[in-house]
Amino acid sequence: MAERARRIGRSAILLWRVLRANPLTLVGFVIVVLIAGTAVIMVSVPHLLTSYGVDQGTVDYHQSPSWHHLFGTDGNGLDIFSMVLYGLPVDLAIAFAIAGVALLGGGALGLIAGFWDRPGTAGGIASVVIMRITDIFLSFPSLILALAIAVSLGRGVWQLVVAVLLTWWPFYVRLVRGETLAVKHLPYVMAARAAGVTEGRIVLRHVVRNVLEPVIVYFTLDIGTVLVTLSTIGYVGLGVNYPTTPEWGSMISYYQGAGLITSYPWTVLGPGLAIFITVLAFSLLGDGLRDVLDPRSRRVLAGNAGRSSTSPAEQEEAAEEVQQEVLELPTNVPAAQEALS
């Protein structure tokens, strides 16, 4: 137990050092933590942050932003700031569901297609089938395809998830397959095989771990892309039903459709700002994640941070000590022999 606590503590220190060495990542990390915290609060105890319920009107109509209504209100008296906050967990949940399922499903297919790709074997046939289906999906512009599917499925959260997901998984297949192809020819895979490790274990232990780095980074950056795509679909009016389900893209679409954008621009400014900040935060974090996940750069970063903690005075002292030792070394050979014997 104590050992586990110590290890978590060490990881926390390491994380802090890596973040400190990379200020932009730190910014991304802090915003993502704030966003996640806000989302948790909005799901569990929303009244900590807002005094209005979802879709609960006030008596203030078309108010411009003020301390009372940070992002103003709309024609129905809805507080835009509250609605943006309510939209946060909805947007995050949809984005993570889409990117997560695409990562797991597409990633598994990519692993299979990449690792067992030898022509003439059962795996080779499976690989070809997977890749050709992936190619078919990739040959459509993904946004148009998602819109088409969204049209045929109708409005709603699940319909939105399915529509985007169907166009999203092929990118993960291609990414993971490419990485797998590169990793599986590296000598350590052959060495593991020579050591008697079974193929399944080689994939799960040796290949997956080394494919993980670029995939996790891509995933984090992808959260932002999914959010933008969601908003785009919502914007053309195919998203969810606002204001019953608060989702940022649909929110912008709703107010813009109501013709409020010219007279009351704050109605779209709030959700727009929310999308911008969230996407930016995940992008910044994703860029820096690579350094944390790769043992090589991780140690370098942590090492640099550690070294800078030695003060110049201490370094000077150490240098003098070494110099002293060198001076004390016997300079002629007989003396040296004597000292050694």
Partner: protein, 380 residues
């Protein structure tokens, strides 16, 4: 006559690339006696690495295919074993050290995890279940190792039963006795301060250190046969000497059988008991190292020995063998060395060429694939 650890019999390996097909190894026969170190030398592209990787069936098949021949290991023919069953033979039965120490360790795991995985595999195999308070006897006396039957090994499950796996998980604690055994093996390969090394990642070690860890991993599985595929080629000369010294010491300590592949005659001379010389996919000479070096019975061996640079001679150019290595998709007819051979006669050109036969007036196991082994000594 002892039963050889591995007996390669008339082995031929083809590479099929597109419509083309060429024979990288043709009709090689080679025995490794228990406790012996057998060296295989040859120029780049002579098929020695292909041979080394074919024995534990590590060659990518396709494009490689085993055309004919047998690899008898502990009473079974490995050529006939389906590939998916081979992991049960690899590791504890036949293990391998590769020539790229820089990339042969997984960059994502600490040294501890990698050595522990190897030890874990051996324990699962050895017992069929896990004995928690197993203490390693290092150095391990390989002569005391119970002879394992490969046929029986094939019938054993790869993954232990659920209960055994659970015990195994408990035994893999960072402070458990598994850690002690990992340390034991790191000490065996003369790694300084193994407690620190345990927690390092491969990129934090030098090439020589990594190769030591690779050797520790291979030995920790206590293989019956260890194949070393140019284990020192990628290292610089001083580190090469260190690793080589280590291997020589370990050969005496662990008393295992080793197939040592190299293109460096010096390395072979220092380590091997018997030596096989390969040329263009064929084994042209095989015999005790000392005799092969002092009295080669094949013109190619003689030329190869003559081309080895000597240290204290600075005058003159480096000796080389006239001509170049033949294209294996269209090898010369008959003896493959005849276009470059100074004692070649019309007979040498006739297929199928000279067989590998015992040489008169030499040791019992000295064989040469030359029609005129007695004339080799006279070549300048």
């Amino acid at each position: 006559m002892t039963v050889p650890v591995v007996s390669v019999q008339n082995l031929s390996i083809d590479y099929v690339i597109g419509a083309g097909r060429f024979r990288a190894v043709s009709g090689v026969s080679l025995d490794v006696e228990p406790g012996h170190v057998v060296g295989v030398v040859g120029e780049t592209g002579c098929g020695k690495s292909t041979l080394a990787q074919a024995i534990p069936r590590l060659l990518p098949e396709p494009p490689a295919t085993i055309g004919e021949g047998r690899i008898i290991f502990q009473g079974i023919d490995l050529v006939q074993v389906p590939l998916w069953k081979m992991p049960r033979i690899r590791g504890t039965g036949i293990n391998m050290i590769f020539q790229e120490p820089l990339n042969s360790l997984n960059p994502a795991y600490r040294i501890y995890d990698q050595v522990a995985e190897a030890i874990h595999i051996r324990r699962v195999r050895d017992k069929g279940n896990i004995v928690v308070d197993h203490r390693p006897a290092a150095p391990f006396d390989y002569s005391q190792r119970p002879k394992q039957d490969a046929g029986e090994a094939l019938t054993r499950p790869i993954i232990p039963s659920g209960a055994a796996a659970q015990v195994a998980r408990k035994a893999t604690g960072r402070h458990g006795e598994l850690r002690d055994e990992v340390l034991e093996y790191l000490r065996l390969v003369r790694i300084n301060d193994p407690e620190t090394i345990l927690n390092l990642y491969p990129h934090e070690l030098s090439g020589g250190m990594r190769q030591r860890v690779m050797i520790a991993m291979a030995l920790s599985e206590k293989p019956t046969l260890l194949i070393a595929d140019e284990p020192t080629s990628a290292l610089d000369v001083t580190i090469q000497a260190q690793v080589l010294t280590l291997m020589k010491e370990l050969i005496d300590e662990v008393n295992t059988s080793i197939l040592f592949i190299s293109h460096d005659l010096g390395v072979i001379a220092e380590t091997a008991d018997e030596l096989g010389v390969m040329y263009a996919g064929k084994l042209v000479e095989f015999g005790p190292v000392a005799e092969l070096f002092s009295a080669p019975r094949h013109p190619y061996t003689k030329a190869l020995l003559g081309a080895a640079p000597t240290r204290y001679k600075s005058e003159g150019t480096l000796a080389s063998i006239a001509g170049s290595v033949p294209n294996l998709s269209r090898p010369p007819t008959g003896c493959r060395f005849h276009p470059r051979c100074s004692i070649a006669r019309p007979k040498c050109r006739v297929p199928p060429g000279p067989p590998l036969l015992a040489v008169e007036g030499a040791s019992e196991n000295h064989r040469s694939a030359c029609y005129f082994p007695s004339e080799v000594a006279a070549i300048p």
